[in-house]
Symmetry: C2
Subunit: 335 residues, 2 copies
DNA sequence: CCTCGATGTTGAAACGTTTTAACACCTGAG
DNA sequence: CTCAGGTGTTAAAACGTTTCAACATCGAGG
């Protein structure tokens, strides 16, 4: 469509060589002020836009990192992304966000594309345990919110087992002995870990393992939480749990909504604990007790690990943060 | 670090020319099955990853579009992005998300970078009215959730004036005559339009213009809504509005939260109407009346307009959708 | 036996930058 | 007057692909 003006056109128009134009672009200080002005004027006049592909091809480096998130609609991940972006900007890098939407195929496609693009680095919160396709291929990869199982990558995670334990211990201390765990699919590592933590809490308290009912969902979205709520209410009230621990806040919010719709009170009829402590948790119908993760720090740390990958003698590091229980009305002590 | 294996290495290893390798990659059908296998094996064995920069430089086209969003933490935009991505994938394109975070400088940087990257197209929900820096520079740009003022771009928008009118008319019909408009900064087009709609609703009902108090905020996040709530409660109760129309749901949720904390009831002490009808609106402390926009369709349409930009005799189109009021408990009729 | 078309394969020329080493020029010191 | 050292500028060689026209091979039709 357009004649596409290149660096040579600018050079010709300004009466200099293309090397000089390149210098104006990359090392403005080495070129004489008068020439620089002339070149800048030519760039302006011709509407020249530098071709990043060519630049990258020759220079070998990119100015971009990418973060492949599990679910862009989950505020938890956008908050982590915020931390990543802040750290990236300080290093002069831009951040591209990609949404795998919990789909392993999409995740693979994005990773493939990003490798081909030769971005400076890739952050990923993987869909499932199989990290085969995340193998190193020249571009540094850091796992976010997931521990690297085989140690082939750096990783930044939160102790989800502890998180689950905190949540369920809290419920037990509040007198609950029939508890539901809402979450799934179990192929997601985070869900498995939080479940394991819940079981550990039971064991610690000397409760039988069948005190915990697993209500497995097909995903971690609000709608799935609503569905779980309906299933829960369908149970005979003698066997119905008095408390629910949800694998994330989206589920908890859906569950909450479903309870209200069906005329049940939270926390009186059902205590609810969520996970992530997203901003909406505190603004919910009943303010939500939740397990808080250091989202911002998670992101910042992930970014800095990624940037450190290029250092000469790099060893993969695995950072693990501690979660923290935030108690609100949804799990208040039963009257 | 790595010797970086290229197409020539693969060619040599498979005993063919580089052109053949390229063919295997781009037109697998033209190369003989036996050769193809051999080449694929070599690719696998050497761990070859195609260099997209080189490809794009030569081929001239990219396989990516980007969406520069106003606030990645706002579920409204991630929902729009979902629609964009669905449409993009159908066309074989990947989507990169960039977050301007309501910062004009960041927006400009991202746009600049994307132009330099020569992506296939750019979608943007701009920070402010000044669209000077969004000027065409070879890469098609489509405005999302904002009407193109000077007609230099395609755009997809929703009639925000009508939306504001719907919201406030609803409040007036419910008997409110002292209404607050919460939102800002007014440099954001959407806020201005919704405000204008609110004023129109007053005029239609024959109410004086001072029935509407503008509570201007510095942004459209939950925290700003909480702040507005405090300001609102600080007013002498004789002059305090009995209803609030918020420029988006995040503000409304913050406002709601602040009301509850301060011991005021919604809708009895204050009716609240939000805007966007994000999923969390229905799950809020008091289910939120809100103005719904066709988020998914907004995204899909934007993407298809973008893809149409490359057609031979393209004329810029401006699509405008109608919003719809969804009434819930937060604005129920006063008892 | 010659020709023709179909089928696979290839050499070499782009694509638009960055970068390196060399070059021209000038200024001030010896 | 010469020379060392600095300051600006440049020619040309990459970077790793895609693509085009040309080329080889082969089976079939005349």
């Amino acid at each position: 469509m357009k004649p596409s003006v290149g660096i040579r056109d600018v050079a010709q128009h300004a009466g200099v060589s293309n090397a000089t134009v390149s210098n104006v672009l990359n090392r403005p200080d080495v070129v004489a002020p008068a020439t620089r002005q002339r070149v800048l004027a030519a760039i302006e006049e011709l509407g020249f836009v530098r071709n990043e592909s060519a630049r990258q091809l020759r220079a070998g480096r990119s100015r971009v990192i990418a973060y492949v998130v599990l679910d862009a609609a989950n505020p938890f991940f956008t908050d982590v992304a915020r931390g990543v972006e802040d750290a990236a900007r300080e290093a002069g890098l831009a951040l591209f966000l990609c949404n795998s939407a919990s789909d392993a195929g999409r995740e693979r496609e994005y990773l493939e594309l990003l490798h081909e693009q030769r971005v400076e680095g890739i952050l990923v919160t993987p869909v499932d345990g199989e990290s085969a396709h995340i193998a190193e291929r020249g571009t540094p990869v850091v796992l976010v919110d997931r521990e690297s199982t085989d140690g082939t990558h750096c990783s930044v995670a939160v102790d989800d087992v502890l998180g689950g334990e905190l949540a369920v211990t809290h419920l037990i201390e509040n007198g609950h002995t029939r508890i539901a765990m809402v979450g799934g699919p179990l192929s997601i590592q985070q869900v498995r870990d939080r479940y394991e933590g819940a079981l550990r809490a039971l064991a610690n308290a000397g409760l039988p393992a069948d005190s915990l009912t697993l209500l497995e969902t097909r995903g971690l979205q609000v709608a799935e939480g609503r569905g779980a709520g309906e299933r829960l209410v369908g149970l005979p009230s003698s066997r119905r749990p008095t408390a629910a621990f949800c694998a994330n806040d989206l589920l908890a919010l859906g569950l909450l909504q479903s309870m209200t719709q069906q005329g049940l009170k939270v926390p009186d009829d059902l205590a609810v604990v969520g996970y992530d402590d997203i901003e909406f948790a505190a603004a919910a119908a009943v303010p939500l007790t939740s397990v808080r993760q250091p989202r911002d720090q998670l992101g910042r740390t992930a970014a800095s690990l990624l940037l450190a990958e290029n250092e000469p003698d790099h060893e993969h590091r695995h950072v693990k943060f501690q979660p923290e229980l935030v108690v609100r009305a949804s799990s208040a002590v039963r009257r």
